[in-house]
C-alpha cells in the first residue's frame, strides 16, 4: 500500500479571471492528520473540492489514495475512497437521524446487510443513538455537525476531509469533535483538516500547510515554529544580572541574543538558543558560576498562531 494518501503536482484551479489555487505541490502521508491553514478566500475549499473529485482542476495532477484525478471513472472511484464534511452539514431535515445515515450508506455502496449495524455504531459513537428516530430538523447545531461527521464516515473511507469541523460549535461539542479526530488518528485514519482554529491545528495535526492560493510553507507545527522563530528559554532570577554577568553570558557561542522581559514581577531574561535540550544545562551551569540566583528556567515556543500570521503576512514568498 502506498504511504502517500494525497499527492498533487502543480494543481491549479482558475475561475474565469480568479486564480483560486496556484500550482499546489503537496504530499500527505497515510495515517496523518494534515492541517490546511489559510485565511478566508485562500482557496482551501476549492482545493478540498478538487481532491474530493467534486470539481476538476484547470491544470496539474493529483492522486488520492493512489487514484489519479481526472477521468469520470477515476473520480467516481475517488469519491468511494473519501468522506467529506462540507462547510454546511447538508442534512435532510425531514428525515430522521437513522434515515439520513441509511440514505448515504446506500449511496456509498455499504453492503445492505451491514448498514443497520454501521448506522447504530456511528450514532452511538456520536451520542445520538437516543435521538435516532427524531427528524434532524430539530437537532441543535452541535448535533447536526456530529451527524455530518457520521455521514462522512458511514462508508469507512480511508481519507476524511473535514472542512472547519468545529466552526460555530459550543466548547463542549467542539471538544467532542476534537476528541473524535484524535480517536480516528490513533486508529490510523488519514484526515485532511481545514481550520481557522490554530490551537486546534496545533493539537491535532501531524503536519500543517499554510496556504494562500499557493502553499506558502508546510511542516510539522513544531518545526515551523523552530524554523521561523527559533527557540528560547526564559530565566527568572532573584536579582537582575549585572552588566558584567550579561556580557560574559553573551560570549557563550550558542546564545543568539539575550532580552530583558518587561512587565515581569521578577527579574527575567529571555535567551535565544538553537538547541535548548543540549545547551540548557551548560547555560544554567554558567549562570550559577557567574553567581546569578536562578529561580526558574522555562522553555518558550512561538505559538502556531505566530507562525501562521508571519507566513500569511509574508504572503507569496515561495517555499
Amino acid at each position: 500500500m502506498n504511504d502517500t494518501i494525497i499527492a498533487t503536482q502543480d494543481l491549479t484551479r482558475r475561475f474565469d479571471k480568479l486564480l483560486a489555487v496556484d500550482r499546489l505541490n503537496m504530499q500527505v502521508g497515510r495515517g496523518q492528520v494534515y492541517g490546511f491553514l489559510g485565511p478566508n478566500g485562500a482557496g482551501k475549499t476549492t482545493t478540498v473540492r478538487m481532491l474530493a473529485a467534486l470539481i476538476s482542476p484547470t491544470s496539474g495532477a493529483a492522486w488520492v489514495d493512489g487514484i489519479a484525478l481526472g477521468s469520470e471513472a477515476n473520480d467516481t472511484q475517488i469519491r468511494r475512497h473519501v468522506g467529506i464534511l462540507t462547510e454546511s452539514p447538508g442534512l435532510y431535515d425531514k428525515l430522521s437521524a437513522t434515515d439520513n445515515l441509511r440514505f448515504y450508506a446506500r449511496l456509498y455502496e455499504v453492503p445492505s446487510g451491514d448498514i443497520a449495524a454501521r448506522v447504530q455504531q456511528l450514532l452511538q459513537m456520536m451520542g445520538l443513538w437516543e435521538r435516532r428516530a427524531d427528524k434532524v430538523g430539530g437537532f441543535s447545531k452541535g448535533m447536526r455537525q456530529k451527524m455530518a461527521i457520521a455521514r462522512a464516515m458511514v462508508h469507512r473511507p480511508p481519507l476524511l476531509f473535514l472542512d472547519e469541523p468545529t466552526s460555530g460549535l459550543d466548547p463542549e461539542a467542539a471538544r467532542l469533535v476534537r476528541d473524535f479526530i484524535e480517536t480516528l488518528r490513533s486508529e490510523g485514519g488519514s484526515i485532511f483538516l481545514t481550520t481557522h482554529n490554530l490551537d486546534e491545528a496545533d493539537r491535532l495535526c501531524d503536519r500543517v500547510g499554510v496556504f494562500k492560493q499557493r502553499l506558502i510553507r508546510e511542516d510539522t507545527p513544531a518545526n515551523l515554529r523552530r524554523q521561523l522563530f527559533g527557540r528560547r528559554v526564559e530565566v527568572q532570577l532573584a536579582q537582575p544580572l549585572s552588566e558584567q554577568q550579561s556580557a560574559t553570558l553573551r560570549e557563550l557561542p550558542f546564545i543568539s541574543d539575550i532580552q530583558t522581559v518587561a512587565n515581569s514581577q521578577h527579574p527575567t531574561i529571555s535567551i535565544g538558543l538553537s538547541d535548548p535540550e543540549a545547551q540548557n544545562p551548560i547555560l544554567v551551569r554558567k549562570l550559577v558560576e557567574l553567581g546569578a540566583a536562578v529561580q526558574f528556567v522555562t522553555p518558550l515556543e512561538a505559538s502556531l498562531e505566530d507562525v501562521y500570521f508571519s507566513l500569511v503576512n509574508e504572503g507569496e514568498k515561495p517555499q
Binding site: 470539481i55 447538508g90 448515504y104 446506500r106 449511496l107 456509498y108 455521514r151 462522512a152
Partner: protein, 264 residues
Amino acid sequence: MNKAMIIFGKDWQEIRQSIGLIATMLIIPLFFTAIAIGYVMLFGSIGSSSSTSGDNFIALAQLHPEWSGYPRGQVIQGIGAIAAQVFLIVIPITITITIASHSIVGEKEQRTLEPLLATPIETWQLLLGKMLVPLIPGTVAAWVAYAIYVLVLRLIASPLVNNFVVSTPYLILVFLFTPLLTALTVLFSLIISSRVSSARTAQQISSVVFVPLILLFAAQILGVLNINTLASLLVCLVVLLLDGGALLLAVALFQRESILMRWK
C-alpha cells in the same frame, strides 16, 4: 438504476412528510376530474335542451364521422368530452411542476447538494432519480383520475361519450402522451431549476409548459386539429423527440461541477 431508485426513495420519503405536497397530489386529481365530469355534464345538458345554443357545436362534430347517426344531444356531449381532455392532462403537469420544483430546488435550499455529489453517484443516476420523483406520482395520479373519470361517466354519460373515452386515440392520449408530456415537464423543470434559486420561481417559470398544451386542445376543440389514432401517435412522437432533446440539454447543463456551482 439502483442509485436513481435510492434518490427516488429518499425524495418520496421527504414528500410524504410534507402535508402541502400530499394535499396537492390528492386534491388536484379530484378537482380536475370533477371539472372534466362537470364539463361533460354541462355539454350534455346543452345538448338535451331544446334551445339552439348547441347548434354551433354540431359543426365541430363533422371531424368525427363515426359519430354520425348518434342523437344530437349525445354528439354535443361528445364535444364536451373532447374539451374536457385538457383537464385530465393538466393533472400530471400540475403535480409534476409542484413536486419537481421542491425535489430539485429543495436540495439547493437545504444545502444538501455538495454532500450528495460527493458520493459515488453518476450524474445520470442523480438526474434519473430526480426525474422519477415527480414523474411516477404525476403519471399514477393521471391514470387514477382517468379511471375515476371513466367509471363516473359510465354512470352518467351517453354511450357515445363512453365509447369516446376508451377509444384508441384517447387511450394513446392517456397512457402514452400523458407520461411523455409529464417527462417533458420534469425535464423542463430540471433545466429551469439549474437557473433559479427558489422552488416558487421554478414552479412559476415551469408553468409555461401549459401554453402549448392549451393551444393544442384549443385547436382540437375549434376543429383545426382532429386527433385520430394516427395524429395521436404523431403528437406522441413529437413529444418523444422533444423529450430526447430536453434530456440532452438537461444532461449538458447538469454536469456535476455546474450543478455544484449553480445550485450552491
